[in-house]
């Protein structure tokens, strides 16, 4: 009997958290916003979301099959990539947009660099940038919520015009825009869930949103209304809570995370305030993703006992 004892090195116990449990929590956190987008954009939303998720999961399975790796689609990470990518698209996108986007995200951004944990950019965001650059028209045709979809502009595009929506509509999400960015409040609820579950820490979203808000507040001449508008509009909440906090492409250490989030807030502000585009969230995060290795190198924590 004793010869069957397992001998392994310490520690002999492990926490309950697993990659799948963490990823599943992220999916749960995204559910309110997902359901709301379906309510807003009806069949169009269902179509885009399902296509993006299916394409992402299928791509991962096919690549792992070809490369004779263990198929890990049950870890939910491809589901999240697909869902987040769908969140970044207009409901009117033709069917091939989410499909191509997800294939690009998984095949090029994720697996070409070594798979889970190796990608240096957030796959969903990088795919979005790829789609916006390649098919600006399909990626930029926004429709109004409801069954009788008509073309509209996003709140950041109408900001400062007579067509700008009320703050309350921004908060709730009764506005045009990509699937997931419409309801700030539901994204925040998802974020609170992730904080409560210990999946994310307040550091990145807090500093990102705080930096942007503060800079815009000063820039706008201490205008409370326009700052709130800017905070709630566009993909800021989605980006700060769900994209910038992506483990793989953000620094592992707290000091690094502070710099990362500050940089993302600063770049978002610069793009929105001075840049040619109305939106700046995705590019700010992508830029900071690329800077992550260098940030980590210069922010290695001081070792206990103060070794140099």
């Amino acid at each position: 009997m004793e010869s069957k004892l397992i001998v392994s090195s310490s520690p002999h116990i492990r926490s309950k958290d697993t990659v799948s449990s963490i990823m599943r929590d992220v999916v749960i956190a995204l559910l309110p916003a997902t359901l709301y987008s379906v309510y807003l954009f009806r069949f169009n939303a269902v179509r885009v979301i399902l296509l993006a998720i299916l394409a992402a999961v299928a791509t991962e399975a096919v690549i792992q099959k070809i490369r004779k790796q263990k198929i890990t689609i049950s870890d939910w990470s491809a589901v999240i990539t697909g869902l987040l990518l769908a969140f970044n698209m207009p409901a009117s996108a033709p069917w091939w947009i989410p499909v191509i986007g997800s294939i690009f995200a998984i095949a090029v951004v994720k697996h070409a660099f070594g798979g889970l944990g190796q990608n240096f950019m957030n796959p969903a965001l990088a795919a979005r940038a790829f789609l916006v650059a390649s098919w600006p028209v399909q990626m930029g045709t926004w429709i109004t919520p409801g069954a009788d979809a008509v073309s509209t502009a996003t709140p950041l595009a109408t900001y400062g015009t007579v067509n700008e929506p009320a703050i309350m509509d921004l908060l709730i999400g009764n506005i045009g825009g990509s699937l997931g960015e419409t309801s700030a409040i539901l994204l925040i609820i998802g974020g609170i869930y992730l904080l409560y579950r210990g999946v994310i820490k307040i550091t990145i979203p807090g500093i990102y949103i705080g930096t942007f808000g503060l800079l815009y507040f000063v820039y706008s001449g201490f205008d409370f209304y326009s700052t709130t508008y800017q905070l709630l509009a566009g993909g800021l909440m989605l980006g700060a809570i769900f994209m910038a906090t992506d483990y793989v492409s953000s620094p592992v250490n707290r000091k690094g995370q502070i710099i990362f989030a500050f940089g993302a807030g600063l770049i978002t502000f610069i793009i929105r305030a001075y840049g040619g585009m109305a939106e700046g969230v995705s590019f700010s995060i992508l830029l900071m993703n690329v800077a992550t290795p260098i940030i980590e190198r210069y922010t290695a924590p001081k070792v206990f006992g103060g070794a140099k």
Binding site: S8, S10, P11, H12, I13, T72, L116, F304, A307
Partner: protein, 440 residues
């Protein structure tokens, strides 16, 4: 210097306590063993040379192994009886030289075991010699000879003496019970240690999941210049460097020892052993051990004689309640898994933890997702995620740069990893490679 409230350190984890199975079980004397197998190396440092031969009659407390170096500790017989053999025997983790003694059941005590007198009349030097002769080693698990710890070089001034009553390892309750049941002797031992190191104030750090122990120890220390300090329940609160940091705010310098921060830390069980060595003259031949886990019938805290076979000890706890999958000597975070139970207990056997199959199996590792949880929990502020991967790839310069040698091997990183990566295993590999490179 007296810091109020609950103290702690930065980082760390909150593993499930697992202590409820045995924390209310009073210490019981184990059944007397018929045969003991006493290893000649039960400590960090040089092994002992046997000073008895086959056929010799030995008594309880009689010295049977003599140290050959300063960093070593003598071993004594835990029974009276006849030496059956001196030679290589199976011990936990391999083989080692042991003295096998068949007990005559009389437990006749050696003539040398007599009280050393009143603490007041003993000088620090004399106490140190008593400790050395009694073969006392760190009883928290590492087994570093206590007299070495108490002999800092003259240029290192020690002004902080801490007893570790944190017992931060899950499942273990031996120190907890000792504090509850034998508080006076712990205080006595601490006073002896204070005298050796010439410090006027002593500290006992206890995690706040043992409020009863804090209460009892506070009462026992009344009127003495001893502070009973409550600590946050967090692993590894009882690690020397973390304990010193929590209590005094001092950081042991990287690559240094506690004495480099003017501190000495001893376990409460070590202090208890010191008290016995002075009061009765009995060297370290018995210790308290927690036998627990989900595959043992009746978890207990037993006072066992050094050299008792683990099988006998487990039998006294009703044996296995189900098929054991893993048996760990010590706690689940830093203890060592043993491949068999027909091996002797030692001075450092603080626990025998028996897990069933299900609990024994650790999930297969999957790819790292760079969540940074290992970085958050590392009490030394290292980057386990990178240390482990660089170590596996043999980037020795890189891991040295990342201070891999400062790792205290607490295992918090492996515990917390959602990808179930064996981070500490990788780090140990790296440390060993660096050490073997140095030796060449």
């Amino acid at each position: 210097m007296n810091r109020l409230g609950l103290l702690t350190f930065k980082g760390g984890i909150h593993p499930p306590h697992g202590k409820k199975h045995s924390e209310n079980k009073a210490i019981e004397k184990a059944k007397e063993p018929k045969v003991v197998k006493i290893p000649l190396s039960q400590h960090i440092g040089a092994p002992c040379k046997p000073i008895v031969e086959k056929g010799d009659y030995v008594k309880v407390g009689q010295k049977i192994g003599e140290p050959l170096a300063f960093v070593s500790a003598p071993v004594h017989s835990s029974v009276s009886g006849t030496v059956k053999s001196v030679g290589m025997e199976k011990i936990a983790g391999g083989t080692g030289e042991c003295i096998v003694i068949e007990s005559d059941g009389k437990f006749e005590v050696s003539e040398n075991v007599t009280t050393k007198g009143e603490l007041e009349n003993l000088s620090g030097k004399e106490i140190l010699e008593i400790i050395k002769e009694a073969g006392i080693v760190g009883m928290g698990g590492a087994g570093f000879p206590t007299h070495v710890k108490l002999s800092p070089p003259p240029e290192k001034e020690i002004d902080l003496l801490i007893l570790n009553g944190a017992e931060c390892e899950p499942y273990l309750t031996a120190d907890h019970r000792l504090m509850l049941e034998r508080a006076d002797d712990i205080v006595y031992g601490l006073k002896a240690l204070m005298k050796v190191l010439e410090v006027s104030k002593g500290y006992i750090g206890i995690e706040n999941n043992k409020p009863d122990a804090i209460k009892v120890m506070t009462k026992a220390a009344e009127g003495e210049n001893i502070v009973i300090q409550g600590l946050k329940t967090k692993y590894p609160q009882g690690a020397e460097k973390q304990l010193i940091d929590a209590i005094s705010g001092r950081e042991v310098p990287s690559g240094g020892l506690p004495m480099d921060a003017g501190a000495v830390v001893n376990n409460v069980a070590t202090a208890y052993a010191v008290a016995q060595a002075i009061k009765t003259g009995m060297p370290l031949v018995e210790r308290i051990c927690t036998i627990t886990g989900n595959a043992v019938a009746e978890p207990k805290n037993l006072e066992i004689r050094v050299g008792t076979e683990l099988t006998e000890i487990i039998e006294q706890c009703g044996g296995y309640s189900e098929k054991p999958g893993k048996i760990i000597l010590g706690g689940p975070m830093m203890g060592r898994a043993t491949s068999s139970v027909d091996v002797p207990s030692t001075k450092t056997t603080s626990g025998i933890l028996i897990f069933n199959k299900e609990k024994a199996i650790i999930d297969e590792p999957v790819l790292c997702i760079k969540c940074g949880k290992c970085v958050d929990v590392c009490p030394i502020n290292l980057l386990p995620v990178y240390l482990s991967s660089h170590a596996e790839h043999g980037n020795l310069n890189k891991i040295k740069e990342l201070n891999i040698l400062d790792c205290i091997e607490c295992g918090s990183c492996s515990f917390v990893c959602p990808s179930k990566r064996r981070l500490l295993e990788g780090i140990r590999l790296g440390k060993n490679r660096i050490r073997s490179m140095k030796q060449k």
